[in-house]
């Protein structure tokens, strides 16, 4: 980061200058400072360009990360769906076994819904670049209007600027226009403004060239002011665009983090479902020996085993209602 430059400090203390006179100002020092700032600006421009590219890279990376995470979540969601379908088979088997022993038919809740999340669409670097281009074109439009207006004011209404020429202008002879009068003053003023040849009836290539040279300080002032406005607009829009980009990246990252949470949660439910399904499958296999038995004739231990199996089946069933 370049050092801060204080224009007031650079220009020197006004009182000192007044005491010593303007001639005491070190012009070379000012030139040196200007070129020093210029170098800093070039460095800042490079730095800014690099960081703007970095921001675009971050935007693209974050969108890719979101898409990858979404794909991972979809895979986990599909996997959970498959595991839950398999678990339903085990629950059905247990239902049949319990039904063969119990006096009345029994059932377990085995409804579940597929976990779905809508994929969000984010504004990519390309969309931001397009917006930046539109904003830049607006700035160019303003600059265009400035150069046109600058010349137009001078070509069509030179009298509007005459007071400036007559107040500050100097005729080609070196005489201040303010000291001239009548036609000589008008002629000198129009010549100073640059549009003289045109309104004085000259026209032709000379007038065109004079117009294209922006016809004088007034025209230049208008063009300069519009250039300044265009630069301010360009800069402001780019800042806003980058702030918007920042918010978009923030939103993508937060959504990616939310997706990660969802994916990990599904992954955990999946792991629990697999464990419970496998264990219940084993328990069912062990209890199959009691298929069609009279409950009253069963031992205390078998009855407790059946009770545990019913509770475990309810547990697996309860896992179906676990959502994210």
């Amino acid at each position: 980061m370049a050092n801060k430059f204080n224009l007031n400090k650079i220009a020197g203390n006004a009182k000192d200058i007044a005491k010593k006179g303007i001639d005491s100002i070190d012009v070379d020092a000012i030139k040196g400072k200007a070129s020093e700032i210029k170098e800093s600006v070039e460095g800042m421009k490079d730095d800014l360009e690099f960081k703007l590219k970095e921001l675009d890279i971050q935007l693209e990376k974050s969108i890719n990360a979101y898409n990858e995470e979404y794909a991972r979540m979809e895979d986990e969601g599909l996997n959970l769906y498959i595991q839950r379908t398999r678990a339903v088979d085990v629950i059905d088997n247990v239902t049949e076994l319990v039904g063969s022993i119990a006096n009345s038919p029994k059932s377990f809740d085995s409804d579940f819904e597929e976990i779905k999340k809508n994929k969000l669409v984010f504004k990519g670097a390309e969309a931001f670049a397009e917006k930046e281009l539109q904003d830049a074109r607006k700035a160019a439009g303003g600059a265009g209007a400035g150069i046109a207006a600058g010349a137009a004011v001078m070509s069509a209404a030179p009298t509007a600027a005459m007071w400036i020429a007559t107040t500050f202008g100097t005729a080609s002879t070196g005489t201040a226009i303010s000291t001239l009068s009548g036609a000589a003053a008008t002629k000198a003023a129009l010549a100073w403004l640059g549009g003289g040849a045109l309104t004085a009836g000259g026209g032709g290539v000379a007038a065109g060239n004079a117009l294209l040279a922006l016809a004088g300080p007034v025209g230049m002032g208008i063009a300069g002011a519009s250039l300044l406005a265009s630069i301010a607009l360009f800069s402001r829009k780019r800042i806003l665009n980058n702030k918007e980009k920042n918010k978009e990246i923030e939103s993508i990252k937060e959504n990616t983090a939310s997706l990660k949470v969802v994916t990990e949660t599904i992954h955990t439910i999946n792991a629990e479902t697999i464990t419970l399904r496998e264990e219940l499958g084993k328990q069912f296999s062990e209890n199959m020996r009691m298929f069609g038995s009279d409950y009253r004739s069963l031992s205390e231990a078998d009855k407790m085993c059946l009770g545990a199996m019913v509770n475990n089946t309810k547990s697996l069933s309860a896992l179906f209602s676990k959502t994210v």
């Binding site: 000012i30 200007a34 040279a213 992954h267």
Partner: protein
């Protein structure tokens, strides 16, 4: 279709606005000159209106852009005529109508990139024309820099044309170069008018300093914003990573507890403990109608 209607309304509103502005205009401007010469503004606007269908197709272009473009191209068309030797005072109604009509047509039809190129070509030509009258009195450094600016602007225009420079960069560079050139030319003109010779160098130096300071302030602000954004993103990354990791750890802990409960609920060593384990597991998962006692089990199977 809705968009089309909207664009149509906007453009018609714009024309309406132009009409009211023109009615109010009474200053010493180009329009006033036209008014003095009995130019029928109504007819001129009707002519612009003729090009509305084409304008309506350009839905991405708002009315301000189109208005600015039309005005700019109108004035440029006017220059061209003047450059060819015409004088505004000799313009006929037909001349005005042609200039206005062409401007409206071109503003709608011109490619935006071509427009950007045209604008800065005008600046480049203006700067170029401004150099010659300055040669005698201006400092060599000023002339050299102006020539350098003209050359750079030409180079950028060629690069843009060849597709070697993005348009945004082209506009940004040209805005600054044009402004710098105007600073230099204006300083030269003003200092010749207002200052004795020995002070001109000082004026040029101060002008250069102000210009560079202006650029510095602009880039400083942009850089500060981008630095803040980068810092914010780094903080966000850290915060989100921390949050997600904390959540994953919680899930891991929950899974550990689950595994212990499962191990007990499916234990084959002690049927009574396994039964109690199955209750704990079912409760932890929020199951309903859990069999809590031996009686519950009996009732379940015998009812």
């Amino acid at each position: 279709m809705e968009g089309n209607n909207k664009a149509q309304i906007n453009l018609r509103e714009m024309l309406q606005m132009c009409r009211s502005i023109l009615n109010d205009l009474n200053s010493n401007t180009l329009f006033a000159v036209m008014r003095e010469q009995n130019i029928n503004f109504g007819n001129a606007l009707n002519l612009i209106e003729k090009y509305l269908p084409a304008a309506e197709n350009m839905l991405d272009q708002d009315k301000t852009d189109l208005g600015i473009k039309t005005a700019t191209i109108f004035l440029i068309s006017l220059w061209s005529r003047i450059k060819q030797g015409s004088s505004i005072s000799e313009f006929t109604k037909e001349d005005w109508n042609t200039v206005i009509g062409n401007a409206a047509e071109k503003a709608v039809a011109i490619d935006p990139r071509e427009y950007s190129s045209m604008v800065f070509d005008l600046y480049r030509r203006s700067i170029s024309y401004a150099i010659d009258p300055m040669r005698e009195n201006a400092a060599a450094t000023v002339i050299n820099r102006l020539e350098e600016i003209v050359s750079l602007m030409k180079e950028y225009a060629e690069k843009l044309e060849m597709g070697d420079m993005p348009e945004v960069k082209f506009i940004e560079e040209n805005l600054w170069l044009s402004l710098e050139a105007l600073f230099l030319v204006m300083t030269d003109r003003m200092s010749h008018t207002l200052l004795p010779e020995k002070r001109r160098e000082l004026a040029e130096a101060v002008s250069a300093l102000i210009f560079q300071k202006l650029r510095y302030s602009h880039y400083e602000e942009e850089l500060a914003v981008i630095d803040e954004i980068m810092e914010h993103q780094a903080e966000l990354d850290q915060r989100l990573t921390k949050q997600v990791n904390a959540y994953i750890n919680t899930l891991k802990e929950e899974l550990d507890v689950f595994d212990v409960l499962v191990e007990r609920a499916f234990s084959t060593k002690d049927f009574q403990d396994a039964f109690r384990g199955s209750i704990d597991l079912a409760e932890s998962l929020g199951a309903e109608d859990i069999l809590l006692t031996e009686n519950d089990v009996d009732n379940y199977f015998l009812s």
